[in-house]
Symmetry: D2
Subunit: 384 residues, 4 copies
Amino acid sequence: MKYERLTYGMVGGDLKAFIGEVHRKAINFDTRAKLVAGCFSSDEKLGIETAEAYCVDPSRTYKDYKEMAERESQREDKIDFVSICTPNFLHYQIAKEFLLHGINVVCEKPLCFTIEEAKELESIAKEKGLTFAITYTYTGYTMVKVAKEMIEKEKIGKIVSINVEYVQDWLVNSLDPKNQKSTTLSVWRSDPKYSGISNCIGDIGTHAENLVHYLTGFEIKKLVATTDTYGMALDLNSNMIIEYENGVRAALWCSQVALGHYNGLVIRVFGDKGALEWNQEYPDYLNYTPINGAQQVIVRGSGVSKEYKAGLNSRLPVGHPEGLIIAFANIYRNVITTILKKKNGEELTKEDTDFQNVSNGVDGVKFIHKAIESSKEGKWVDYK
Amino acid sequence: MKYERLTYGMVGGDLKAFIGEVHRKAINFDTRAKLVAGCFSSDEKLGIETAEAYCVDPSRTYKDYKEMAERESQREDKIDFVSICTPNFLHYQIAKEFLLHGINVVCEKPLCFTIEEAKELESIAKEKGLTFAITYTYTGYTMVKVAKEMIEKEKIGKIVSINVEYVQDWLVNSLDPKNQKSTTLSVWRSDPKYSGISNCIGDIGTHAENLVHYLTGFEIKKLVATTDTYGMALDLNSNMIIEYENGVRAALWCSQVALGHYNGLVIRVFGDKGALEWNQEYPDYLNYTPINGAQQVIVRGSGVSKEYKAGLNSRLPVGHPEGLIIAFANIYRNVITTILKKKNGEELTKEDTDFQNVSNGVDGVKFIHKAIESSKEGKWVDYK
Amino acid sequence: MKYERLTYGMVGGDLKAFIGEVHRKAINFDTRAKLVAGCFSSDEKLGIETAEAYCVDPSRTYKDYKEMAERESQREDKIDFVSICTPNFLHYQIAKEFLLHGINVVCEKPLCFTIEEAKELESIAKEKGLTFAITYTYTGYTMVKVAKEMIEKEKIGKIVSINVEYVQDWLVNSLDPKNQKSTTLSVWRSDPKYSGISNCIGDIGTHAENLVHYLTGFEIKKLVATTDTYGMALDLNSNMIIEYENGVRAALWCSQVALGHYNGLVIRVFGDKGALEWNQEYPDYLNYTPINGAQQVIVRGSGVSKEYKAGLNSRLPVGHPEGLIIAFANIYRNVITTILKKKNGEELTKEDTDFQNVSNGVDGVKFIHKAIESSKEGKWVDYK
Amino acid sequence: MKYERLTYGMVGGDLKAFIGEVHRKAINFDTRAKLVAGCFSSDEKLGIETAEAYCVDPSRTYKDYKEMAERESQREDKIDFVSICTPNFLHYQIAKEFLLHGINVVCEKPLCFTIEEAKELESIAKEKGLTFAITYTYTGYTMVKVAKEMIEKEKIGKIVSINVEYVQDWLVNSLDPKNQKSTTLSVWRSDPKYSGISNCIGDIGTHAENLVHYLTGFEIKKLVATTDTYGMALDLNSNMIIEYENGVRAALWCSQVALGHYNGLVIRVFGDKGALEWNQEYPDYLNYTPINGAQQVIVRGSGVSKEYKAGLNSRLPVGHPEGLIIAFANIYRNVITTILKKKNGEELTKEDTDFQNVSNGVDGVKFIHKAIESSKEGKWVDYK
């Protein structure tokens, strides 16, 4: 028998939580995995309401994630994977529990707070042969994938310089001392208990770093960073210079207080034969400048974009904006294909496994630690 | 008992059809209506495959839309509405059949080909008290709704001039005489049998005209139009000047051969106190210029956008692109709420019925006829 | 003896007048013509002050343009050309006077108010073999010239559609009835005595029409127009559809009340092999989309721009904005070269005479009359 | 007697040199200083031709800048200032010579190559009470001045973060080893003899740093930098993090190999109450985002821009692009006013002295040295 659809469970993601809903809509987009189990909230009533809203059977609605991992793992029709949409500080323990019970995991970034924990999760997943995806959202956009393929096909030649920024302004009110003690802010963002050692780098800087790695495959050699807390416990702004193993340097800037920027993840990769620029707020458009040629705009869904295999990830006709949910759906499409094929004993292609996994999650945690270390010590930090 | 979810059926929209999939994903986005019946294809095998793919019970998979209308209307658990996603030339007969059997209808635009047919459908729906929605997609975008509310709230004062264009380039190959006989083009687009009296105006010009009406409520008094067929049977490009009952004029341009434009629906509305500009390819951004002030960009999800009630239609945080599927989902959200509330005997608000209905569909058909008439006769045509 | 520099005189253009200063700076830019005579103002004191400011000898500072034409024409070292920078309603009589005295003329647009006057000036210039340039400013921009050359070289194939607009908002306050009687507005703009039969079409619509003609060479066959006066004596906004002799249609829109637009002259020319778009506010950038290719931006001063002979008009390196004065200087560069070469008995090249002349001025006057006629009569108007 | 016009001389700037011509056109723009002396070229013939072209009297055309300084300084009608437009490596000796002879100096940046030389020039100028302007071009743009005034008026509150880049691509061919020995490149750029210790930072990085200082007045405390030479002798690309005395950090990136960027000087200044963004390629437009408001575009020449005193620097109406020459002319306008007023014994206003002077030149030289030091030593470098 060939499996064609999967079932999944969710930890976190109650009706009031934003990101859980995004995950469900993204999975639902292709209707290839059905939500059948969940431990949605520490608030029992809210958990039950969420289960009802999504038609999850009460018998598979759990109060406790440990109970869920255990009981699901014992069912013949156990969930094929669990999506972890809890606050970040719970990722580690929940992911570990499901892995140990042999269940594939999809987890929001950051994977966890310490490098040791991250590596532990990586090694359990590896040992058990489980799929462990990290939802680095922006790698799901078609034009990011086209950019990656263009780089692989040497459309920009040898890379010589990189500039990446991920800047927002939604925490600008934190700059006002009057607000810094307020509970109306997303206070957990600046509370080390809930956010670990970093707020801004952990939340968005890692996306920027991951995007460089996704596009280029470059490994970091060393970095120098500054962080700005403006009176809060954790960073709200950070500048870095990163040097990769091959000697190429990147400037990376992340901020949550950059007025006029909303979700401004912009990456520019410069080679000796061409350059690429992509902006998350206009995700269907990829700027490409070949040496000795004019600047071009490659649009998702256009004939030019479909000269690249990655261009076929496009879901809607040219000029009809796809948006974030489809980027997310593209990630889940590959995760689900991978789990399905493994279940069916089929061979995986490079395209099937085109999603970020636990090793990228480990990289992200390491990146946060190295950046904070450099900032604290006021010097370049090696990446060994 | 209070209804919270609906069931629906679909005519057309087999696995290979693009627009049926868009409708399903849009309805599915909010999981408030379930697909339970269908007559997906004139190709029986493809119809069955589609039913299987969407878990539609074979007993409710029909070969013929008449059979579907009749048998569904007799069930106690009959579908709450039918989505018609067939080629345009079939809209009239299918919509009529379902209306006559007392089933609510959601239909793609154009509603049908003749004014008489359009008015007939309008009067049946009215008589039977049925909901009849037309999916003028672009009215579903949050920032279009914000623009509408800004106009209602006199943020731009008295409107003095309008400029709207809907330009694409996907039929540019039709300009080459060698291709004009080819079957590789979307030939039905230029075949009066399948497209009625107009291709370009019918397909996209009507969206532009509808958008003006949606935003301003203006009624057309007269228009002058040219159409360009470039050797094909039907129009591929059209320019118009429209005069509304209140004396305001609009320029409208639609084209399928405007190289470098993908799905370029751009509307600019100028008042004596401000101006608005919206571009479908960047739907989350609304340009607003108040008199004596600087040009502003109002972004979906921002605090500024949420000063308008319509801004609350936003689904994702600021800077995270929503895209076309969400615009479509917003339309279905209102259609479903309307049908649910009517079923539950609840009162409808202005927001609930914020979708285009059969009367807007009638307007669209009339617009096509008047434009073609003006073009043929080379003169201004009154709208009586 | 070979002439290398010219002398010129100016009528109008006192110290307080904007456009006279633009002409002087543009001529001065290349220091190939020296201001030596003038009749700068009807206000004698202001005229003398202007002469002093520009070191014009008192003996060649005139109170009356007729005196100036006469006395200059009698000097051995008479001015090589006169620049007419007076209010529009004086153009005809002044131009005629200088032509009759054998002096080359550079005149602001519109040439004059009636077709008869325009043709009279054209025939005097022709008969006398004089150079008569009209400063249609925008034809001076390098990237406009590149666009023209690209069209000539069939980079966009056969033209199928044109869209041009010239929209501003500086007269938006005229929409308020309270202001319509005010003298603080540029009242002469709406006074037929000073502006002839049209304000907006005459002032900026003619630039748009001229730009189409400059780029394509197309001759108008007929047009249909509306004009909006909003309670003023003359038009503030106008929409047109133009049909050219070869059957191609253009939409043209001009406005002085389009809030959020400053000096928005934007032209888009669509062919069956490519398309071009140019926006006066970003004059160094030309958008080009070849069929089956990506949209490109050709930048003035870049290698790509210099593949075109016209690209060599560039004065500054790529990325260093040139601006309006240089466009104007480019026009005068060619006018001066033409007059110099004629004086030296040298042969003129196509590049030398690349400026708009009295015949283009005649076209502009005719265009205004036809558009107003169409608007008044509410119908298409033939161009015979 | 009140002086109203000045005379000036030029060193360098022969007919074939680009930057000399820019200086002459900029000075000429306002016709308040006349070129009367020069030592234009080491090539005697070319020097004479240049003098002739600009009507400089042979008696004031010099073969040697020392002779020029000496002889001019002895004339009663000596030049009021000298413009130095020679290659950078000659700036120091020429500037010193003229200062010692009591002549005001306008010099291209970089001022010179060593900090000692720079300070020497600064102290001579100070001691002699001479005006010594450095033409940091971009400080001449009206909207840069508006931005400066907005910051002074606390429109963006307390500054918290800065991001500036100055990126070009015109040396991208240097990345190809085959070209690195070629003489067709601007080889002197990479030759320490002619460019000192830095190419890219010296040429454009200093503009970026100067612009931050001009806008904010911030003084650097320390910086960390990397430089990329890609096989050439000097830097072609550089990333920096700068910390100012007040603790604010800036990221600075300059490059001559960033494909797709032409003269991309972009600065973003973020405060706790607003943010500003300005891009040299679109110099008439200033983006401004107030906290809790929408992003705005303030356009040179608009009513909004003229709410700022600096907005009155505007020369052309809104929407009519000014460009680089006018920015340059704005600098000279102030320099000339300053020299004139000093000559006339009048008091200088803040607006009169709004140009960069020798102290800013010293800062620029120091900046280059500190950045190269940081890059070489791989660590943060203090600015003491």
